[in-house]
Symmetry: C3
Subunit: 106 residues, 3 copies
């Protein structure tokens, strides 16, 4: 199985409002077909200190041909200096759903 | 690192009952070793309208040799016309866990 | 797009305390840049019985060159006999975030 050109892009946001604003903007500008949002507890280091904070994980289902446009839009909207923007490949999928992503992402 | 033949299949469901029914059926019919369910907030377009709804994300840990059987079973059970059914590759894993997936999926 | 050498490692834990202890240890020992924790409902078979339990999913963002050290540390800390430890590839990402992972993982 080779990767399709579709993927799930992961982004973390600092508040539910920020998560929803980014999700709605990506879907409205046809950079994502669907964005799922869920609360998470994050543990990470920043400038040598271990931090533990509530964040919101976005799962952005999209066509990865749009990745650089997607990244630019997220950077424009995001409050973090270095936001998480990472793409996971979709290896296979039901054709009708993948076609729906293609129809929703321009 | 090359992909193993294992993967995580993502499906969204419209209610916790639907999520649990799909999860239990996949595990009972040995199409999945483990299914994790979590509530999500989904933002997406459908027939030109932006929608925001609560859904439930399934993370289905399985052997991707079963993907087409898994897809058929999910379509049979799912209430959506175009359900999300997408497979993410597992690149590496602890051998005892991967062996457990092999033993659980037929 | 080829896989980067970065990835998201998925682990499930039996309690929030176990999830936090593993997350903090991985970040403190520079085996992970960031770990996100979320509650999940898990459906799985174990010794022929279908089980449904609350668990906690860890999403471990790291450099996969450290996968075997990461696996060893998780096994050392984990209460399960066969813990889930599976790596999902990151196919692309914003360069500043990937650089942050490199700086945080040794």
């Amino acid at each position: 199985m080779n990767n399709t050109n579709y993927g799930v892009v992961l982004v973390t946001a600092g508040s539910p409002q920020e998560a929803e604003a980014i999700a709605t903007s990506l879907v409205a500008s046809k950079l994502a077909a669907c964005v799922n949002i869920l609360p998470i507890q994050s543990v990470y280091t920043w400038q040598g200190e271990i931090n533990q904070e509530q964040e919101w994980q976005l799962l952005i289902k999209t066509d990865l041909a749009q990745f650089s446009n997607l990244e630019a839009k997220i950077r424009e909207l995001h409050s973090y200096e270095v936001p998480e923007i990472i793409a996971i490949p979709i290896l296979a999928g039901s054709q009708s759903y993948l076609d729906w992503i293609s129809a929703s992402v321009k």
